[in-house]
Symmetry: C2
Subunit: 279 residues, 2 copies
């Protein structure tokens, strides 16, 4: 696997890079960001994977979240992948903001044509995980995962299914149950087909009921002024699932905050400190 | 003057707003950002004007600099104007990135057609200053100014010319002498005409020689890996002018940093603390 450097910028004493590679899982070039803190010059550092939400690329969190400051202080790396393949040009893949390009939902699609390259679950957990572990000074035994909205769904589902790989999980305004909201129903129908039995493997509430989670408490921040709170996100379903399964959840309802990066940037420091304390 | 609210987002306990108004100086609608810290709920707070660089709008600093965190802590407001009129549609106003739209250079143009609406000097110092003072809980007796690149030039020239209005000045990678670099020579020729005598009023080094500056030290950060360092920015000219005029300058050459917002975000906290300490 060959990495191409798109850009590198010094940031808080470390390096914010953007790279691309030809992906085996998606069948197209994929971009991702990596922030290496100053501590990475001396040896491998723990790493946090950030999964972005609908319409995002690797760039949003990189330029808007202000996470590098805290990552530099804590000596933790950040990996920011894209949210879908780009350039496959499947029919209709750019017709809507919530399906196809920019909306991979972190699943391995089984329906044609999406099954060809919409394999973001395997891309993140296998290909990208191995690639960054082999390419940068990262201690892959000390990895955590977090994300926002669709990416919060990705972080919860990927983390719960791979506790040996990701030791800590947190999320901002996650889609907690895609089997029970319009965004999720549309995406899972498209990528996995109409048989809802196959959807359970990508629903955080169902996965927690089935597998539990023995790691540190799930930290979830949710703004009360989030326009998607009631119709799509439904954090009460996560609360119920965690209570039922005996999983520790720290859900913080943040008064007046919305779904934007202004919300994320306000609380991202708390998330990094939560992960760092347990990695 | 009527303000239209474009957006408001809660950020670090305060409010990041974007507003527009019909500008008397530019003859077109102008947008600007305002960050109000939580302290503004209790009474007027000091205010920092941020002037952006070439190609920027009111958005760049608002979403990329990470300044709201520090502004909230210090109880200081931020005002982020656009960098030029937009929508005047003068012939050629969008032909290049360094002249016309996105490149107002914070001057009052005297050459037609630019003299019609390219009046960013008066827009900032008179119209916008009065507008935000009348519209938000700001203590306009405690105002400072800072900026980046073309906006660093704007901050230095506007600040030095208006010491009663702006008590503190700082800059990131500023154009320190537009009469002696390609960006400046192009802009000043276009906006002010070929007579270089008229340019002196918009050159920080010449203004410092003529007027001095009795306020707190000018804080300037400059990355050593900045691609524009030698050809356009030339901080040594500012050092010489300040030494000659007995003006306190704190120029910090930052090893390995470039011209990007990754550089700005790394050091913006220092700038806010510098201003707050003197306002």
């Amino acid at each position: 696997m060959t990495l191409k450097t798109i850009s590198q910028n010094k940031s808080f004493g470390g390096t914010q890079g953007v790279y691309s590679h030809e992906s085996r899982e998606t069948g197209c070039p994929m971009r991702f960001g990596v922030y290496l803190p100053p501590a990475a010059e001396k040896g491998p550092v723990p790493v946090l994977f950030w999964l972005s939400g609908l319409t995002c690329t690797e760039e949003n969190f990189t330029v808007k979240a202000g996470a590098q400051r805290v990552a530099a202080e804590l000596g933790i790396a950040l990996v920011m992948p894209d949210t879908s393949p780009r350039g496959l040009n499947y029919p209709g893949d750019s017709a809507s903001y919530d399906f196809g390009v920019g909306a991979g939902f972190y699943v391995d699609a089984t329906e044609a044509p999406w099954s060809g390259g919409y394999r973001m679950y395997s891309y993140i957990t296998k290909e990208l995980f191995a690639l960054v572990g082999n390419s940068f000074a990262l201690d892959m035994q000390r990895a955590g995962i977090f994300g926002h909205s669709m990416g919060g769904h990705g972080a919860l589902t990927i983390g719960v299914k791979n506790p040996d790989q990701f030791k800590t999980i947190s999320a901002f305004s996650p889609i907690v149950s895609p089997t029970r909201c319009p965004w999720g129903e549309k995406a899972l129908t498209g990528y996995l087909g109409a048989d809802r039995a196959t959807w359970a493997d990508y629903d955080a509430t169902l996965l927690i009921a089935k597998r539990g989670w023995k790691g540190p408490a799930l930290l979830v921040d949710q703004g009360t002024a989030d326009q998607f709170l009631e119709g799509q996100l439904k954090p009460e379903l996560l609360t119920a699932a965690c209570a039922e399964a005996g999983v520790a959840l720290k859900l913080r309802m943040q008064p007046g905050y919305d779904h934007s990066y202004f919300f994320i940037s306000t609380f991202v420091e708390d998330h990094l400190r939560h992960h760092a304390a347990h990695l």
